[in-house]
Symmetry: C2
């Protein structure tokens, strides 16, 4: 009983994440594929991919949900970088050490780094 049918829409979205390891906003995909599939479909496919552990997500500085492909060198929890200039967002392959705070039992964390990417710096 396959839980994930390889539909045309599913493949189109999966291709994006296979060709691009950046973090992509749901709304960008909705827009990109507006003539290929319904926006509801985009959201539901992203949901499934996340539940299946193929993608992970976070809320960016503008409150938009972004998704990126899981990979082996993604530590379980890693920061996400956003370039103010060109808008690209990437998973940052760095281990962040949480300060030990006695008052809280910290279970997970989200880290957003905002700045300028290499490409935008050199242009």
């Amino acid at each position: 009983m396959s839980v994930n049918r390889k539909t045309k829409s599913f493949k189109l979205i999966m291709d994006v994440f296979n060709e691009n390891k950046n973090a992509i906003s749901a709304i960008y995909l909705v827009d990109q594929f507006s003539n290929k599939m319904n926006k509801t479909t985009v959201y539901r496919i992203l949901d499934r991919l996340e539940n299946d552990g193929i993608l992970h997500s976070f809320i960016d500085k503008q409150g938009l949900k972004r998704y990126a492909k899981d990979s082996d060198d993604n530590s379980i929890t890693h920061p996400h970088f956003l370039c103010q200039d060109c808008g690209i967002s990437t998973c940052v392959k760095v281990n962040i050490t949480l300060p030990d705070i006695s008052e809280y039992n910290i279970k997970s964390s989200e880290h957003l780094l905002i700045g300028t990417c290499k490409d935008c710096l050199s242009n």
Copy 2:
């Protein structure tokens, strides 16, 4: 020319932040004061307070905008904690050291810590 008039609405909201150092969502205040002022007014007062450097804000895990009072022991950039159980959110007075990533010029960062607070742990 006073830029900040001490209106009734302004005082009501300011009081909340003076009595409570936690990070409070805009929508919570809109709800709290629904019979005292218009929601637009809440948003605009929060905006002003942030521009004047009295409050600072961040987007929480649900994509909601939260505000907290600036204070001397708030380092310029500090993490924010959210208790999964009771929902309170606090500024965490800890210096976080960003890993130096050659690929990016990092100008600012946002750090969300999710877990359980002391109160919820002991109950």
